[in-house]
């Protein structure tokens, strides 16, 4: 096997990347003990790094790691539990031995459904998935979610305890429950992506998780290929990521969407996203992520023709609003309508929305309001709205951008 010739460390790292979640899912599926599975696997990886440089890489590194991890898990269960409970635990770990030698079954989807179970707090689902499926450590996840590592670590431990002690099963739900449960998995993946997406590009300390989120979305597409919403989510993420490079200029300055150069968007990603969206629409079951992806797709119109198709965009926002009833969607719809009906009409729409408390500290609301006020000639009010938007923004590049806009208002 070609792996034998490779550097043992590289092999271990390659296996870790490819198989981490698969091994965790397999080890924890019966015991529901994620922490024990992760500990055993991390010991197995340490053993590999000590053993492989001397003895050479095994022919099947994945099976080697699984065997060692299972032995470690059984040892640890014997050490830490009473005789009776340890017997149960050991039996559960040992029962999995049947699969030895053959291909390790892929239970990552079941693992993701356990992480995004309704009994788990919605805010910890994405971090939990990133840790269990991809092996990200608490520090990295905490950094992406703007949380202290200690607090993140504590919440992850608590969530794993809940899975184990409350008996949350590692199974893919049946047909009846699948739509709602699938949405929870997709929402968690999108949350991980959105954290990375809003990541200030100039802030190198904060970890960007878009690559990881894309990996998870691709994994769900691979394991649930007939779910249109899953395809829609991946399409949405690819469309957004295709524009990543054009969000900043060479000085790291923020470039708003309307001023981005469509020719610089990533064609391969857009092509893949469009194909996924076509595949999704063939199922004839529309959903939130397909609509959001379709909105991104509508912007492609500008890439082809140089002119955005605002009528189509407003229509899609209408449909999306019917699904989500979200004030953010309503805001974006009002802004799209402004392109057709003018700033004054849009300001009236925004006034109606301003009653929603959720928009009060939402930076894009104030930035949009400021733009519209400026267009309508209400300079003093525009200046005040920019002031609020600047105060709410955490990305220094966007803050600079808003400050420049504010400064450019006629006195």
């Amino acid at each position: 096997m070609s792996l034998r010739a490779q550097d043992p460390r590289e092999t271990a790292e390659a296996v870790a990347r490819r198989s981490y979640g698969k091994l965790v899912a397999f080890l924890a599926a019966r015991t529901r003990d994620l922490a024990a599975a992760e500990d055993a696997l991390s010991e197995a990886f340490s053993a590999a790094l000590a053993d492989w440089p001397i003895g050479g890489c095994p022919a099947n590194p994945e099976a080697w790691l699984l065997t060692v991890a299972r032995r470690k898990a059984i040892d640890s269960a014997r050490r830490s539990r009473t005789a009776e409970a340890a017997t149960d635990h050991v039996r559960l770990f040992a029962e999995e031995t049947d699969a030895e030698g053959s291909e390790i079954p892929d239970r990552r989807l079941a693992l993701m459904f356990a992480c995004a179970h309704p009994a788990i707090d919605a805010n910890i689902r994405a971090p939990l998935m990133l840790q269990a499926v991809l092996g990200l450590n608490a520090e990295t996840i905490a950094s992406a979610f703007l949380m202290s590592p200690a607090a993140m670590s504590k919440r992850l431990v608590r969530a794993k305890e809940k899975i184990r002690e409350a008996g949350i099963p590692f199974i893919v739900p049946d047909r009846e429950d699948l739509p709602a449960r699938r949405d929870a998995v997709l929402d968690a993946i999108y949350a991980a992506f959105a954290e990375g997406w809003s990541d200030p590009g100039t802030d190198v300390v904060r970890r960007d998780l878009t690559t990881e989120a894309l990996f998870l979305a691709r994994l769900v597409v691979e394991l649930l290929p007939e779910e249109p919403e899953t395809l829609g989510l991946l399409a949405l993420m690819l469309h957004a990521d295709a524009r990543r490079a054009t969000r900043r200029n060479e000085n790291g300055d923020y470039i708003p969407f309307a001023e981005q150069d469509p020719a610089r968007w990533n064609s391969a990603m857009i092509g893949e996203a469009e194909a996924l969206l076509r595949r999704a629409s063939a199922h004839g079951a529309i959903g939130r992520y397909q609509l959001e992806a379709a909105l991104q797709s509508a912007h492609i119109h500008r890439r082809r023709t140089g002119v955005p198709n605002w009528a189509e965009i407003v229509r899609l926002y209408d449909a999306l609003f019917a699904f989500s009833n979200s004030p953010v969607v309503a805001l974006n719809r009002a802004l799209a309508k402004a392109e057709i009906n003018g700033a004054q009409a849009a300001l009236q729409d925004l006034d109606e929305l301003s009653a929603d408390a959720r928009l009060k500290d939402y930076q894009p609301y104030w930035a949009a309001r400021a733009e519209l006020l400026a267009k309508a000639g209400a300079q003093a009010q525009a200046r005040a709205a920019y002031e609020i938007a600047i105060g709410l923004e955490r990305d220094p590049a966007v803050r600079r951008f808003l400050q420049r806009r504010q400064a450019s208002l006629p006195a």
Partner: protein, 119 residues
């Protein structure tokens, strides 16, 4: 795994039910209990007298302190429970959702602490 399904409901609303409404509810609970038995998952169940019949006791400063009424004076009170034995939380939740208590109140599902797994 064993789970305790606790039925929390508004006692005042329960007391204000008409006779036919009460009969209907009792019939629903009877049918639910039968279904649990038939499925072979029922390990125990009881209805509790209202919280006005509750008494709390605690030892403070070496002396026992007895008070009339429930521990927490909330609108919803624990009114009864089912103890069931099912494979996992999903099964427990689906039984909890079928309980008439999920309609007229709130079901709290708690796993039983398995003492053998505690060192």
């Amino acid at each position: 795994m064993h789970y305790l399904l606790m039925i929390y409901s508004n006692e005042a609303a329960m007391m204000n039910r008409t006779k036919p409404e009460q009969e209907q509810m009792i019939a629903a609970y009877t049918a639910y209990t039968e279904a649990l038995k038939k499925a072979g998952v029922l390990a125990g169940s009881n209805r509790l007298r209202p919280s006005t019949d509750a008494t709390t006791v605690r030892i403070a400063g070496g002396k026992s302190q007895v008070l009339d009424g429930p521990y927490a004076d909330t609108k919803e009170q624990l009114g009864g429970y089912y103890l069931i034995d099912v494979p996992d939380l999903d099964a427990a939740l689906s039984w909890a959702a079928r309980c008439p208590g999920a309609t007229h109140g709130i079901m709290e599902v708690r796993p039983i602490w398995n003492m053998t797994s505690y060192p």
